[in-house]
């Protein structure tokens, strides 16, 4: 669990954060906070699918479901089964 959280947070920082000083937590709002725009969310979805060998249907990959690392973990768990 913790491992998954950290892996996702690490990816988010590497992929999206422009300002190195920005403090990022598992609950930082990514999409509503303007860090990840909904258009660039695709690469995050693709990362999750490849890393956890799952397939997230588009209707489940809503901006709300992707808004924090914690929520993303919930979503991924749902598909890992």
């Amino acid at each position: 669990m913790e491992e998954m959280k950290d892996a996702i947070l690490e990816y988010v920082i590497e992929e999206y954060v422009e300002d190195e000083d920005e403090v990022m937590t598992y609950d930082t709002p990514l999409i509503s906070g303007g860090i990840v725009d909904s258009f660039s969310m695709v690469s995050l979805k693709r990362f999750l699918e490849a890393k956890y060998k799952i397939s997230i249907p588009d209707e489940k990959a809503s901006p709300e479901a992707f808004d924090t690392v914690n929520k993303i973990v919930e979503l991924v768990k749902e598909f890992i089964g």
């Binding site: 422009e18 906070g33 303007g34 725009d37 258009f39 660039s40 695709v42 690469s43 693709r46």
Partner: protein
């Protein structure tokens, strides 16, 4: 009655939601032609006010240039008002062809196809040249019309951090297995006024076997020594595979756009791009106007030189007054205020001082990066810029932000 009270109410609520969020857009009516000095009715119903326009894309001051207006009149007289047809049925005149040739020459490309607008060019081009075997890799800050074009195309898409070449290279490596790769960027980014690193991008595209696409809407006519665009400025003239640009900004400002580049790609657009196939192209009167604009710009760099001098003067004035500017050297000069409400109040006070400049805030720009975006024109004279500067300083003093750093402004007003 399909449009029942219930449906109407639903929309009314949505509109109210937009108003409540403070992002409801309202138009201000201009009662004169587009220029540095305009007459505006604002708020609606009030008497006309003479203001200096600091937010038009009229970079070269050609929107109401007498020679352009005259050429448009002549075009109207000789080729009529409308075509009543799309291009490939009976909607193509000799002057459409002439304009495509002239644009090709001006941009230093192989061929050009006109579109009703650059929005249409961007919406149509990707779908016409790519399939689901390909990938589009776009800068995160590209214009909304490019995003629409990407959405309409079945190729995979991915993004890279704004102007971050390391991140772009990573993505090029990640997608090495794709049949075709296209790297997509704006030449000059319209919100920040910064220029894409085209030299580095072309190098990366060569190295990883990718094509490059540049939207030069905020560059064509004035960026680069002879105003050809960012490819001239960055030393990669002739090396951009696809350029899209608009005639709705510096090049007379009426409307219309184009895709210009490798001749096979342009031909694919002619065969397959839907906004080209299913919508009328630019009206003859506009084509005649743009032909004159390109004539003027090919003959002399006077206007872009004046624009460059005006831009330097404006940036220097604002910097010396103690404003925080977004760094850059294009005529898009964003005055950073960070707080959304401050940007709106500031814009309103400027208007009272006779200066028309708009505040931009989330979601148009990232949260906490609200600003007044000023845009300089060759149509501005020094007295316009001096008056605008005076107003900016007066309002800047009122809000006590002159000489303050980003952190100090944020501490004072919040994000």
């Amino acid at each position: 009655m399909g449009y029942s009270d219930k449906v109407r109410k639903m929309y009314q609520e949505q509109i109210k939601g937009i108003q409540d969020a403070g992002i409801f857009k309202q138009e201000r009516l201009i009662h004169s032609s587009q220029a540095a000095d305009i007459e505006v009715e604002y708020p609606a119903g009030s008497s006309l006010k003479k203001v200096i326009n600091m937010c038009a894309n009229n970079y070269l001051g050609l929107s109401s240039h007498p020679e352009v207006v005259k050429a448009a009149h002549e075009g109207l007289d000789s080729r009529g008002y409308g075509m009543s047809s799309v291009r490939f049925i009976c909607g193509t005149q000799d002057i459409h062809n002439d304009l495509e040739k002239k644009v090709t020459e001006f941009l230093g490309t192989e061929d050009t196809i006109l579109f009703p607008s650059c929005m249409d060019a961007n919406a149509g081009v990707f779908e016409a040249i790519l399939t689901d075997e390909d990938v589009m890799i776009s800068d995160r800050l590209v214009h909304a019309s490019i995003i629409d074009g990407i959405r309409l195309c079945s190729a995979m898409h991915d993004t890279f951090k704004h102007s971050n070449m390391k991140h772009l290279e990573k993505k090029l490596i990640l997608h090495a297995d794709k049949r075709l790769k296209v790297v997509i960027t704006d030449g000059v980014f319209s919100m920040d006024g910064d220029t894409a690193k085209l030299y580095e991008m072309v190098e990366l595209c060569d190295k990883y076997d990718a094509m490059i696409f540049v939207d030069d809407s905020h560059s064509t006519g004035f960026i680069g020594k002879t105003g050809r665009g960012t490819h001239e400025h960055c030393g990669v003239f002739g090396k951009i595979d696809i350029i899209t640009t608009t005639f709705g900004k510096a090049l007379g400002g009426a409307s219309g756009g184009c895709v210009s580049g490798r001749k096979e790609l342009v031909e694919m657009c002619r065969q397959k791009a839907r906004p080209y196939l299913f919508s009328n192209t630019m009206a003859p009167v506009i084509v005649a106007g743009v032909l004159k604009v390109l004539d003027i710009l090919s003959g002399s760099t006077e206007r872009r030189d004046k624009l460059e001098a005006n831009t330097e003067y404006w940036r220097k004035g604002l910097t010396e007054a103690g404003f925080v500017l977004q760094p850059g050297d294009t005529p898009i000069v964003p005055v950073m205020l960070f707080n959304a409400k401050l940007s709106q109040d500031f814009s309103k006070d400027l208007y009272d001082e006779g200066i028309y400049a708009i505040g931009f805030f989330f979601p148009v720009v990232p949260n906490g990066k609200a600003r007044i975006r000023t845009q300089i024109s060759a149509g501005h004279e020094i007295h316009h810029l001096d008056k605008a500067l005076e107003a900016f300083i007066k309002v800047g003093k009122k809000y006590d932000i002159l000489g303050k750093t980003k952190q100090e402004i944020i501490e004072k007003y919040g994000l």
